[in-house]
């Protein structure tokens, strides 16, 4: 079953096209890695999928919910007249769909004034109105899985980058999303901390969680992802089985990109 689909997505910033025409879908239980050089449009793509940015044209579907349809060459979001970030923020229809996905940021973006536990439990309790005791129990389970159960009462500033990112992953998990997006989750970390974060993401992949990961870690993408999408200059240049594409790329552009990682 396909959980998410985006079709003919186009996005430009002040007339400059960043995403020219991108379509892909994500099936349940699948791990998709999006790779490509900086400025290729992959982060923008993730921001569109998570409603932090709007697309100019295209279609988007979460499960059976059409979130965006194309109308006269322009994107039309449900429950929304204008195409603007402001309108996205105010859109009540989109808030309901936001519980289909979670996003883990490059810079963690934990709330610094809250303890680790509150960071993880507040949204399920105050946004989704779930039972507090059950949420705490869930949160403890996820924090334990992330190996930070002894830090529940610490504040983010007392944690290492790797620990902060693991809290951010627990925060996303506690919302019980159907898809988790990762936006270069290890780019702000040193190699050692990178390893510990990749390890927990790998565990999630083993549990068959549906994930879309924008990453620069090629060996990680090859090992963990089922499918890889190589984005360059706003279009998908190559996509397919992660091991095949990364070990034996067919397109010239992909070969050139991957060569840089071997050096």
């Amino acid at each position: 079953m396909s959980l998410f689909e985006i079709k003919n997505c186009k996005k430009n910033f002040d007339g400059v096209p960043v995403i020219k025409d991108i379509s892909f879908k994500v099936d349940e239980g699948e791990v998709v890695a999006i790779i490509g050089s900086s400025g290729s449009g992959k982060t923008t793509l993730l921001r569109i999928c998570t409603f932090l940015e709007y697309m100019n044209d295209g279609e988007m579907t979460y499960l059976d919910k059409k979130v965006v349809i194309s109308e006269n060459g322009k994107a039309k979001y449900i429950g929304q007249k204008n195409l603007s970030i402001d309108a996205l923020k105010k859109n009540k229809e989109l808030i309901k769909i936001k519980n289909y996905f979670g996003l883990v940021f490059q810079n963690f973006n934990l709330f610094p004034h809250w303890t680790v536990l509150k960071n993880v439990i507040n949204a399920p309790i105050s946004v989704e109105k779930r039972n507090k005791d059950e949420v705490i129990e869930k949160a403890m389970m996820y924090l334990k899985k992330m190996g930070i159960e002894n830090k529940v009462n610490s504040y983010p500033c007392e944690l290492s980058g790797g620990q902060q990112q693991r809290v951010a992953i627990a925060r996303a998990l506690c919302m019980e999303p159907k898809i988790i997006y990762f936006d270069e989750p290890t780019s702000a970390l040193d190699p050692e901390l990178t390893r510990e974060v990749l390890k927990v993401i790998k565990e999630l992949a083993n549990e068959k969680r549906t994930m879309v990961i924008v990453t620069h870690e090629m060996s990680f993408a090859r090992d963990v992802a089922d499918r890889v999408i190589f984005v360059d200059n706003g279009v998908i240049v190559e996509e397919g089985n992660a091991k095949e594409v990364i070990s034996n790329p067919k397109m010239e552009r992909t070969k050139k990109f991957l060569q840089k990682y071997e050096e």
């Binding site: 998570t50 409603f51 932090l52 402001d86 923020k89 105010k90 808030i95 936001k98 519980n99 996905f101 979670g102 996003l103 940021f105 810079n107 973006n109 934990l110 709330f111 610094p112 004034h113 507040n122 949204a123 105050s126 946004v127 989704e128 504040y155 983010p156 500033c157 925060r171 919302m175």
Partner: protein
């Protein structure tokens, strides 16, 4: 010696009036400042433009002149005579609105300094705009604005003496009257010491409040 005790007691009697101005201004200007911040940051051009103009006028003209306007304005503009009872309200309105303008700019810079990632994380988790402000942005803003707000509060304590301009009897007015009547500078020194002590206490309290936010960075 008796003489000095007498001076101290009389000057101190004016401190009550100064405190009324001080505390009333704090109580009214902080929330009012936040409202002006919202107006200033509004997407509505008319509202933000108006707030910007208001802030610029309030910060760009002397507070003493504004006090005159609030006190004498009703009479000269509308021929309404409000009498001496209008003096304290006029002072409190003048101070509160003037300080609200300064606080508004402090709050705005406090809000704008919060990384955009905080808003994005909140958005993805499904918080509405108002939940995001109340739960995530406002508490972080408070921590950021404590040092500049402390500065303003210390200035306010000294500024309360401006009420003297419309002959409202607060500590400085009393001190000046005694100084003139007895031809001595001692009452002014005493007043100076009282202002200093008051400020010392406020700085201490604000320092404590600032420290209480040190549990996170």
């Amino acid at each position: 010696m008796n003489n000095i005790t007498d001076i101290i007691i009389r000057v101190f009697s004016g401190a009550g009036a100064s405190s009324i101005i001080f505390f009333s201004t704090i109580i009214f200007s902080l929330p009012l400042g936040l409202l002006i911040t919202f107006a200033r940051m509004s997407k509505l051009k008319v509202l933000s433009g108006f707030a910007g103009f208001l802030i610029s006028v309030l910060r760009g003209t002397p507070l003493m002149l504004q006090l005159f306007m609030w006190y004498y304005g009703p009479f000269y503009l509308f021929r309404v005579s409000l009498g001496l009872n209008w003096r304290l309200p006029a002072i409190i309105i003048g101070f509160s609105i003037n300080y609200a303008a300064y606080f508004a700019e402090i709050f705005r810079s406090g809000i704008e300094g919060i990384p955009v990632g905080q808003y994005e994380a909140a958005s993805v988790l499904g918080y509405t705009n108002s939940q995001t402000f109340i739960k995530i942005i406002f508490p972080q803003m408070v921590k950021r604005v404590i040092p500049p707000v402390t500065n303003e509060i210390i200035t306010l304590i000294k500024d309360t003496s401006l009420a003297f301009a419309i002959t409202y009897t607060e500590m400085f007015t009393v001190a000046k009257q005694i100084a003139a009547a007895k031809a001595t500078i001692i009452p002014l020194l005493v007043a100076g010491i009282f202002y200093y002590i008051f400020n010392y206490i406020v700085a201490f309290v604000m320092g404590r409040i600032e420290k209480s936010f040190n549990y996170y960075k």
